[in-house]
């Protein structure tokens, strides 16, 4: 039996498809008996769905660095 902490970790991993088969199995069993974790898991999945649906964009770190440099140059 795995702990809730481990279950949360696997749950987070599986949001990014990085959980192994055995881990997923462990999580399934845990979710059957633990109400809190199954609630968390449901919400976590929903968050992933929302993030996918929103089609988020973000600037890469390199772009941000360039922006900072330009801002610095503008300030002087």
């Amino acid at each position: 039996m795995i702990s809730c902490k481990k279950a949360a970790l696997i749950c987070n991993k599986s949001q990014y498809n990085e959980a192994t088969f055995i881990e997923k199995l462990q999580l399934r069993f845990h979710l059957v008996v633990c109400k809190t974790c199954s609630k968390f898991s449901k919400k976590n999945k929903e968050l992933t769905y929302l993030c996918d649906k929103a089609g988020l964009n973000s600037l890469s770190e390199g772009d941000k660095r360039k922006m900072k440099e330009k801002l610095q140059a503008g300030a002087e």
Binding site: E18, K43, L59, S60, M67, L71
Partner: protein
Amino acid sequence: MAAIKYEKQKESKMRVVTSNSRNFTSDRTSMAKNQLQPNTWVDAYADYLFNYAIARINDAEIAKDLVQETFLAGLKSAKNYKGDAAERTWLIAILKRKVIDHYRKTNSKKGKAEVKINYSAQTDAEGDWLEEQIADPFSNYEHSNLENEELGLAIQSCIGKLPQKQAQVFSMKTIQGISTEDICKELDINPSNLWVMIHRARTALMGCLNETWY
């Protein structure tokens, strides 16, 4: 006896008044706290502004340039900032003007000529160009697009509230889809560290989005 009671009452009333006025002054100071801090702009607002721009421009490069211009313009006119609005609102207002200016430029005589050449070059190959221009009456696209943009901005502003490191890890992992190993290498952390940060970020985001979006 009665006089003493009265005095006490008066005193307690006075105390209430002073405590009220103290609250009032603290309100004032928090109102005046709306100050510009240009060094934090990029970390705090770049993604939010970028999402706002890209929903209207549909071109990542141009959107990026507009965000950059917005920051520079904000810096330039920083002395006109009165502190009435929050920093982000103020920057969005500038960005809005930039977007309008962008479209105005492409719709000017010179810009129109360029667009037309592009269009005819496209239709030469296709032939049936009238159909492309007709709106699909059954399309749900515009509406869902609008909703998704709102959702995107909500998520982005929630991410902005996270501690900087968590926000960085979360956006690298979720939005840019960088693999765990690469993130660990770039930020010099170990995987379990990364998952803890992801966990905290996700929990905070769930709480933040909870009221409106679940």
